[in-house]
């Protein structure tokens, strides 16, 4: 570790003062601003990674340098150019000493939101990043969890731990669904990924509990370049929950995560996300830029991957969870609610690539736009020549709250097999005055009426979420849209 600190010091002395530094007092735990091969080496060294992984990161970094002109410009998103050399790519998790000691030290606005979401006090403390020992022994929670999983042979740990403990698995699957050269943001992630989750479900095992990143809050701060890999062996099943409904504050503006899923024969992966990063204020100031690559490979016959997402946060969202339906009879599903308010922009959707025979996919997308925000659904359904009898059903509904926002639906359909059937339905509606009047005539306030109508609109997606998550998502929706309609 000493050498790493030295490296940091050296690089720091070369680059000079931190003009905008945020955590200056633990600067040694943070790589200096900017991105070059040394930073990539620094990150890898910090994590004591094996040589092959460093090589992989470096290949990605070189590929990314060559891509610089390829930052996607096709999305319906407007944001100032990101200066990648003006960002930080590594900062160690805060040590307990640097964390707030009690809720008194937390932004009251954030606490008010926790309150509205009905999050228990102890969890509020954990979410707000209060030092572990001051809150509860999360280690013991994690331990019971781990023991139960270990009994059935499920591996669920931070990616950095998997790299050292299960190198053969990581090496085999990392980048096998989203290759390091896949796209601008995924390539950047491959070069500098911080941490994330690794999940391995052995053959025939039905994971005995829902795996939630929530339980890992204190275990590892995943940082801005999260990397997650889930492998479900033959006949296994897992339901994975990412994120939580409480708003996540993060000083890092740029987030570029990668999630890879692999499902073998008869395996099923259900991946649910609630994304509630800081969206910026009502004038569009601040907020996270979220560029995510999520992809699942249904490698085996009869395998199934199902993405369910509730997106309410981030200033910019660029995200297309996809399924590659390789195995015959495999199934891909995408259920999404994307809400934008104020000046938020979201360009999100999915890709369903039908390769195997009798592959089926379902896409249900619900977009809700309020304020001056813009929401875009962008989806690709591609049927390759060998995908006999492939089926897709797509339904995209947009709901506009107010008349300064926008909703856009951009479906791409490419079918190379005559036996395939692809159906697409789209609607755009406003909350009608009739509906609002009906509700208020029955005694409901305007806000309750809107949340009722919106939650009804999202129902088909919410019902795909695990139970408690669905309840939280409903509340989240209400808090998100509070005051969204004047």
């Amino acid at each position: 570790m000493a050498t790493n600190t030295e490296t940091a010091e050296t690089i720091r002395s070369l680059t000079g003062e931190y003009k905008y530094g945020f955590v200056t007092d633990i600067a040694a735990e943070q790589a200096p601003r900017g991105l070059n091969e040394d930073i990539v080496r620094f990150i890898s060294a910090k994590k004591s990674e094996p040589a092959w992984l460093l090589e992989w990161r470096l290949k990605a970094f070189r590929a990314w340098c060559a891509m610089e002109a390829e930052e996607p410009a096709w999305a319906n998103l407007r944001y100032p150019a990101i200066d990648y050399q003006n960002a930080y790519y590594y900062s160690a998790p805060k040590s307990d000493a640097d964390r707030p000691k009690s809720l008194d030290e937390i932004d009251p606005e954030l606490l008010a939101t926790y309150e509205k979401l009905g999050i228990p006090l102890r969890e509020q403390e954990a979410l707000a990043g209060i030092a572990v020992d001051a809150v509860f022994d999360s280690i013991s929670v994690a331990t019971t969890y781990k023991e139960k999983l270990a009994e059935v042979g499920v591996i669920f740990c931070p990616m950095s731990e998997a790299v050292t403990k299960h190198p053969e698995l990581v090496r085999k699957y990392l980048g096998s669904v989203v290759p390091y050269s896949d796209n601008f943001f995924a390539t950047l992630n491959s070069a500098v990924f911080s941490d994330g989750s690794f999940v391995y479900i052995p053959e025939g095992v039905r994971c005995p509990m829902e795996l939630s990143t929530y339980f890992r809050i204190n275990a590892a701060q995943t940082g801005q370049f999260e990397r997650t890999l889930i492998v479900a062996e033959k006949g296994s099943y897992v339901s994975y929950l990412e994120g939580c409904t409480a708003p996540m504050r993060d000083e890092n503006q740029l987030h570029a995560a990668v999630v890879e899923l692999v499902a073998m024969d008869d395996a099923e992966i259900k991946y649910s996300t609630v994304q509630n990063w800081y969206p910026g204020d009502e004038n569009g100031k601040g907020g996270i830029f979220n560029f995510v690559t999520k992809r699942g490979a249904c490698r085996g016959r009869n395998s199934k991957i199902s993405w369910t997402q509730v997106e309410t946060g981030s200033a910019i969202t660029w995200k297309y969870p996809s399924c590659i339906l390789q195995g015959d009879n495999s199934v891909g599903e995408f259920y999404s609610v994307a809400t934008t308010t104020n000046l938020q922009q979201a360009d999100t959707g999915t890709k369903m690539i039908h390769i195997g025979k009798n592959t089926r996919s379902t896409i249900i997308s619900k977009g809700i736009s309020a304020g001056r925000s813009q929401g875009t659904y962008r989806g690709l359904v591609k049927v390759l020549g060998g995908a006999e009898n492939a089926r897709n059903y797509t339904q995209c509904d947009s709901l506009l709250l107010g008349d300064k926002c926008g909703a856009h639906t951009i479906p791409y359909i490419e079918s190379r097999n005559r036996t395939a059937r692809v159906e697409h339905e789209a609607t755009t509606s406003k909350i009608s005055e009739d509906q609002l009047f009906y509700c208020s005539q029955r005694g409901l306030s305007q806000e309750d009426a809107i949340s009722l109508i919106v939650n009804g609109f999202c129902k088909e997606v919410f019902k795909e979420l695990p139970m408690e998550f669905a309840v939280e998502a409903t509340k989240l929706m209400n808090v998100t849209l509070e005051g969204a309609v004047g």
Binding site: E433, F437, C439, R442, G443, D448, K459
Partner: protein
């Protein structure tokens, strides 16, 4: 004791056009009044103005509910004070179950009255009871509000809501239209069961037939935005025979005279 409902010289415009032109009407507690009148005479407008629908501007006159100034109140405040409007065209709310919707509504009204909110089980008990009264199929309670309901089912659902919410003033806009003969009887029985000393009902209808089931204390004829004639239940029979032509002429004559 102030009257349950007192409307004085009410003028209201919709879309910049004056529809109600000096309407005066008083209803006492315990009474049922029928309001009849030709298409476009302003019956639904009156109903919406009473409920406080946005877009309906009152330019003159007053409305008092048990002495309280209704015009001062928002739509939801009026509902909480006991104004219920059974709509001529009930609205669909996809994805929201009827039960959920009504529980939210009832609890909003209860909390306004300072009563405790009902939990799902307590609510369900009351809802089942009222559904029985209207012989309403229980699966309609679980389905999304009015979505895919037949015309008659929608109307029945309105009266079911009325039974649950226990209003002080119920304004029922053409609740009878779209009901088959059996449904008409069931819904009418339901409404009759809801007649009470502490409640007033304003029945808007085109058909005398409804008034055979629900016998009104008074019948009013609305024409061109004001009440042009008031009588007992026999007035409805008279109208059935001779139509509204007389009133319209008289009304036009009155207007020229006053001009």
């Amino acid at each position: 004791m102030p009257s349950l409902l007192e409307i004085k010289d009410l003028h209201a415009t919709v879309g910049g056009q004056e529809i109600l032109r000096g309407l005066t009407l008083t209803v006492e507690a315990g009474e049922v009044h029928a309001v009849m009148g030709p298409n476009g005479s302003g019956k639904s407008t009156l109903a919406h103005v009473l409920a406080g629908r946005p877009g309906y501007a009152v330019t003159k006159g007053e409305i008092r509910l048990q002495g309280k100034d209704l015009l001062e109140m928002s739509t939801e405040a009026r509902a909480c004070e006991g104004v219920f409007l059974g709509l001529q065209y009930p609205v669909e709310i996809p994805g929201v179950s009827n039960m959920y919707f009504l529980k939210a509504a009832l609890n909003a009204i209860r909390s306004h009255r300072g009563e405790t909110e009902l939990d799902a089980i307590e609510f369900l008990k009351i809802a089942r009871e009222k559904a029985k009264l209207l012989e309403m199929n229980e699966n309609l309670l679980q389905r999304a509000v009015n979505v895919g309901f037949s015309g008659g089912e929608k109307k029945r659902n309105e009266i079911f809501q009325m039974a649950l919410l226990n209003p002080t003033l119920a304004v029922l806009d053409e609740t009878d239209s779209g009901l088959d003969i059996d449904a008409l009887r069931i819904v009418s029985d339901g409404i009759n069961a809801l007649r009470s000393e502490t409640r007033a009902i304003l029945l808007i209808t085109h058909y005398q037939r409804l008034l055979e089931y629900i016998v009104p204390d008074k019948v009013h004829v609305l024409s061109e935005g004001r009440i042009v004639k008031t009588g007992g239940k026999e007035l409805a029979l008279e109208l059935e025979k001779s139509g509204y032509a007389d009133f319209e002429k008289k009304d036009a004559a009155a207007m020229t005279a006053s001009a």
